[in-house]
């Protein structure tokens, strides 16, 4: 095991002075250590003098209770890694001049590209411009790549000498735990691990409060089943509480949020985005989420599913079930003939409908049990997935007889990462 870096045991000579100078790398992980050790920042002399040296500039940001750049928030999920990066746009000439080479190269690399390697993607359309964070103005960038490329990411961090920047890398999601050791050994980085649900809630509330470049972050669908009349309309989430937050990643977590600091995880289900994608891979041989969704958009699920009308010839009036409702997902596939007559597209669509309906159903039951009528769906399952969003909107409305409202947020899957970034800033 490595010894904790904060000990400053002289092994890393070059970094020592700065660190001693002001606890510059006092990220939350270190703060935690301090509080548990009973000591606090007062024991460390705070430098007062200003100057033109690199170290003085760094001290300056500390004095203003800001962490050192670069500012990242990382959310390592089961399938996707979400990375948010704050690009300061108010860098003074002086700062620019003093900016260490590493930092500059990272900034340029991230902001001048929209794709990284073969799998990393920057969602340019989500970029939040002219954001003020901790007194700095800048743009927030949203980047994602598959979790299985995590080793390559850590490798890159190591090659770019990320550790020499002495910043804290705040990470959430299960991968913050799973890859902690790899970050340490391969990247010489100590992660500051943050709880994923804390980050999620924090991220949602923050992004909704700052808005989406002057537009509303939150929206809903009016007439969700009527292709012609269906409209995406902004929703004002000014008084958000209480709300049910349904995060659909590989799996699903459902939270009831009562205030900024008061939320609980109500339940979760393993039937999530990973199930849709996993089943699609097995059933259709597709290899990407986008491909799976594309197939689904051309399929007809009613060939695969057994509907109420397939059993009862129409509505099942005894129970008030409409004929179009799905009675048995994949129910028609019990028959050999029907198995042979469906297309891959049909199967992809049925998989999507099955998973989506089920999430809607569980979310609806949780909303009823918790007595909450606004349900906010987030998570990367909803990315470019209008079919699911409209279906969720419709199902919630129909089965609750208009009592429940499905809401969506533009930054779908990035809230955990945003929360992690906020965690970094809070800790300073």
């Amino acid at each position: 095991m490595e010894s904790p870096r904060s000990c400053g045991d002289g092994a890393e000579d070059e970094k020592k002075p700065r660190r001693r100078g002001g606890g510059a790398d006092a990220g939350p992980s270190q703060l935690r250590r301090r509080s548990s050790g009973g000591a606090d920042g007062a024991a460390v002399p705070q430098p007062r003098e200003r100057g033109g040296s690199v170290s003085r500039q760094r001290r300056d940001s500390v004095r203003k209770n800001r962490p050192l750049f670069p500012w990242f928030g990382l959310d390592i999920g089961g399938t996707l890694v979400k990375l948010v990066y704050f690009e300061p746009k108010d860098i003074t000439a002086e700062e620019e001049e003093e900016e260490v080479e590493n930092l500059k190269s990272i900034r340029k690399y991230l902001t001048s590209n929209v794709a990284y390697g073969s799998t990393g993607i920057r969602d340019v359309h989500l970029e939040l411009r002219d954001l003020t964070l901790c007194g700095r103005k800048g743009n927030l960038h949203f980047i994602r790549f598959p979790t299985h490329d995590m080793p390559a990411f850590i490798q890159m961090g190591s090659e770019k000498h990320f550790s020499s920047l002495h910043t804290t890398l705040c990470a959430t999601g299960g991968g913050a735990y799973k890859f902690e050791q790899d970050f340490r050994t391969m990247g010489d980085l100590e992660l500051c691990k943050l709880d994923e649900l804390d980050c999620l809630v924090k991220g949602v509330l923050y992004i909704d409060s700052v808005g989406f470049n002057g537009h509303s972050e939150c929206y809903y669908f009016e007439n969700p089943t009527d292709a012609e009349r269906c409209q995406k309309l902004p929703f004002n989430l000014e008084n958000p509480y209480p709300l049910l937050l349904v995060n659909i990643g590989s799996g699903v977590s459902i939270l009831a949020v009562y205030s900024k600091d008061n939320y609980k995880r109500v339940t979760g289900t393993s039937l999530g985005g990973g199930t849709f994608f996993g089943l699609c891979c097995l059933l259709t041989g597709c290899s990407t989420f986008e491909e799976a969704l594309e197939m689904a958009s051309h399929g007809d699920s009613t060939k695969v599913d057994k509907l109420v009308r397939d059993i009862y010839g129409g509505d099942y009036e005894r129970f008030g079930l409409p004929g179009w409702a799905v009675a048995s997902s994949f129910g028609n596939m019990m028959s050999k003939e029907k198995r042979e007559s469906v297309s891959k597209e049909d199967l992809a669509k049925a998989t999507l409908i099955t998973i989506t309906n089920n999430i809607g159903s569980i979310a609806r039951m949780c909303a009823l049990n918790e007595n909450i009528n606004r349900v906010v769906f987030v998570g990367n399952f909803l990315r470019i997935n209008t079919i699911s969003m409209r279906l969720l909107a419709y199902a919630l409305d129909y089965w609750s007889k208009g009592q429940l409202k499905a809401l969506f947020l533009e930054h779908e899957g990035y809230f955990g990462a945003v929360g992690a970034l906020l965690g970094l800033l809070d800790s300073a």
Binding site: Y177, G251, T269, T275, I311, S328, G331
Partner: protein
């Protein structure tokens, strides 16, 4: 939603070549009236109502006026034909449907029925075939209505209908006590989809939700993923697979547990989350297992959410996804435990597969008011749980193929709880659960096997004038032997296995082969002998002082009870000082038992009598007489039908009449209705206080009964040893079985004298 999807695969051709053992399957067809049929995707369930003509032993008092009664038998025994109602249910694979219909048509003689009630997804498909073959008009009934009617019926009428499933415990099947109030409950029917129905009363139920992810999803998606066509084969695959190869677990995401939330690393984070790749092969078994978990967990979660929303804690699961499959019962149980944090128990029904057929039948029989009666499962004619499961008991399969049967007898009178039970919902009649206790089970099964030849012999001997008595006795022997073997393999076949159920099964089998009362002559003789001694016993008791008399009375009760049906001379019992534990009884009687007879007299005592002869006449009656003299009213309860040498209600009437003729105390008590004779509603050597004749219950309430006396091994030890009543009770018996004596920490022939006063 309802049944195994109608146009399911592989049921195209009908098998006409099979030969049925028809007399074993479609029994009593010649008297059948009213049919109902429930046709699912693969199984057909046929129900019919029939009358059974069977022999009953009747006793009739002779007119003794002016005759020398010494040389005459006490009363006359005649075997008469009696007609009782029976419900037959037969379950078989759809492939046999045509053969079965043909058979029914050929054997249907007396029916005036014009219609057959039909339910289930297959009712449409086979409508024409049924109408053509049987000449009956098919009358469709709503699937869910039938299901719920059937469910209410079995919950109300079949003890140990409900069980919880625990795969990894010694007792896989945990049968539940029937709750006096069965409502409200949640029925989760997992057919091709899932229906969740809240049932509030007999006629009030509501579809509160459902899910499209059900048995059809498992089957359809499973067939696509594994190329395996049959549902059962998919389950087989699933039971061999490792879902962790396909599912993304919490530990795959976290590297371990998610500790802040207390989620174990082994929980599934994303079903099929590892199959998100085009270039890896997954085994059929692993995929099937993952699918099974996915669907079971999902259903369990939704069921818990609905139960919570509607504030219900009883969830019964049914439908073809469950239907006796240990694999699915296990995963559903796991899911319910997980999602309800142990607050809700997943419950299953023994006759789940018959609910639709029972319900459809009841719909058609509404004018007969079937719900007015109590019904009892006939163990002789019913196959028991999982009878057609190939891996359970191969012998049964060769006998009746894949045919499973359930027979229910209509009982003469409605049965209810004894109003004096402290808590009817937790009352368990039986003292030892043989399902749970393998040692005890082995012992008792062997006991019953060893006694079987003797019972068969006695049965044959009881009908010396019958030409086929030997043959029938042998058939009885064979049938009961097979039942015992089945129970060795499947102790859970008829609910909790107990000494009572073994005894009752034997009685049912005896009746089946027209041995309604093998002990009738023995009882007749012993009653005659005992009556002759009555007066002298009374005289000697009356000559004793109070204290001695009380002891002698209890001694008489116990002594009488020792002799189940032996031909021992009466004098032997009363004159010798038997070695068994009278001293023990005496010390108990002198201890806390003293207040029983010394305190203020009771208002009314209810006495459950045991054996004929010495027991009732020289043991119970003197005790009754003492109670009456103290001003206590007495309700003397005897079995409605014969069981072993137990005194029956009709015998008790004659015996009492004789005693009244000799004894003025009994005489006036009868006249003034201070002594009342009632029947228990039972024909068992044991006693289930939750199923007693309604008339008895009414009387107990009216007379403000404050003392219950339960006598004999069957009623006070095998059953009711731990029964808690709201009034004073005395349970007494002599342990005539060394194993049981050991078990209860005593010796053989030690005395059970359990006097209990409820704590105030």
């Amino acid at each position: 939603m309802a049944e195994r999807g109608g146009r399911g695969s592989g049921h195209g051709s009908l098998d006409k070549s099979i030969t049925l053992p028809p007399d074993e399957i479609f029994r009593n067809l010649e008297n059948a009236k009213r049919f109902a049929i429930d046709i699912g995707g693969s199984l057909t369930k046929l129900a019919y109502y029939s009358t059974v003509q069977h022999k009953v032993a009747r006793v009739r008092s002779f007119d003794h006026s002016g005759k020398d009664i010494d040389n005459e038998p006490l009363y006359e025994i005649s075997v008469q034909e009696e007609i009782t109602a029976r419900l037959h249910f037969i379950k078989f694979e759809n492939t046999y449907i045509e053969t079965c219909l043909d058979f029914i048509k050929d054997h249907l003689v007396n029916t005036e029925t014009k219609v057959i009630k039909a339910t289930g997804g297959g009712a449409y498909k086979f409508k024409d075939l049924i109408e053509k073959k049987l000449g009956l008009k098919v009358d469709k009934e709503d699937v869910m209505t039938c299901l719920i009617k059937g469910c209410n019926f079995v919950l109300r009428n079949i003890p140990h209908e409900v069980f919880a499933y625990q795969k990894d415990s010694d007792t896989e099947f945990r049968f539940q006590t029937n709750h006096p109030n069965i409502f409200p409950y949640l029925l989760v029917n997992i057919g091709s989809g899932v229906s969740i129905v809240k049932v509030e009363t007999e006629d009030k139920f509501e579809w509160i939700g459902g899910s499209s992810i059900g048995g059809g999803t498992f089957w359809g998606l499973g067939a696509l993923l594994t190329k395996t066509k049959k549902f059962d084969e998919l389950l087989q695959l699933a039971s061999k697979g490792q879902h962790t190869n396909v599912d993304m677990l919490v530990k795959d995401v976290y590297g371990g547990a998610y500790q802040t939330l207390g989620l174990s690393g082994n929980l599934i984070a994303s079903s099929f989350g590892k199959s998100t790749t085009a270039d890896k092969e997954f085994s059929k078994e692993d995929m099937a297992k993952s699918l099974l978990h996915m669907i079971s967990n999902d259903i369990g979660q939704l069921a818990c959410l609905y139960a919570k929303l509607h504030n219900l804690d009883k969830i019964y699961f049914g439908g073809f996804f469950i239907r006796g499959h240990p694999v699915t019962m296990r995963t559903i149980t796991y899911s319910i435990n997980f999602f309800s944090k142990g607050e809700v128990q997943a419950l299953f029904l023994r006759h789940e597969g018959y609910l639709g057929a029972i319900g459809a039948f009841l719909k058609g029989a509404e004018q007969d008011n079937p719900n007015q009666y109590s019904w009892g499962e006939n163990y002789a004619g019913s196959s028991g749980l999982m009878s057609t499961s190939p891996d359970v008991y191969p012998m049964q399969r060769t006998r009746s193929g894949t045919f499973d049967m359930l027979e229910m007898d209509r009982l003469e009178r409605p049965l209810v709880n004894l109003p004096l039970l402290k808590d009817p919902s937790t009352y368990i009649p039986d003292t030892v659960d043989l399902t749970d206790d393998a040692m005890a089970r082995k012992y008792w099964l062997t006991c019953f096997e060893e006694a079987l030849d003797g019972v068969a012999k006695r049965a044959a001997a009881s009908q010396p004038d019958s030409v086929d008595a030997q043959e029938r006795a042998e058939k009885f022997r064979q049938k009961y032997w097979n039942k015992l073997q089945t129970l060795r393999q499947q102790p859970f076949a008829y609910g909790t296995l107990t000494v009572r159920s073994l005894l009752d099964t034997r009685e049912h089998c005896l009746n089946e082969f027209s041995f309604p009362d093998p002990y009738s002559k023995v009882k007749q003789k012993e009653n005659g002998i005992a009556l002759k001694c009555f007066q002298s016993v009374i005289e000697s008791l009356d000559s004793l002082g109070w204290e001695e008399r009380q002891f002698a009375l209890v001694k008489g009760l116990l002594a009488g009870n020792v002799f189940d049906w032996g031909a021992k001379a009466v004098s032997d019992v009363l004159e010798s000082e038997p070695q068994f534990g009278f001293e023990e009884a005496k010390s108990k009687l002198q201890g806390k038992g003293r207040s029983l007879l010394e305190g203020p007299p009771h208002k009314c005592a209810l006495i459950f009598a045991d054996n004929s002869g010495i027991d009732i006449i020289l043991g119970v009656f003197p005790f009754v007489r003492e109670l009456l003299s103290r001003g206590t009213e007495v309700i003397l309860a005897c079995n409605s039908g014969p069981a072993l040498n137990d005194v029956t209600y009709s015998e008790s009437l004659i015996v009492t009449e004789r005693i009244a003729a000799m004894d003025p105390v009994i005489h006036s008590a009868l006249r003034d209705e201070k002594l009342l004779l009632v029947q228990t509603g039972s024909s068992s050597p044991c006693l289930d206080l939750s199923r007693l004749d309604q008339g008895l219950a009414v009387l107990v309430r009216e007379r403000q009964t404050d003392l219950v006396v339960i006598e004999g091994m069957g009623r006070a030890i095998h059953t009711n040893y731990y029964a808690v009543l709201r009034c004073e009770s005395l349970k007494l018996a002599v342990i005539k079985n060394s194993w049981l004596a050991d078990r209860l920490g005593g010796k053989i022939f030690s005395v059970i004298f359990k006097y209990e006063v409820p704590c105030k």
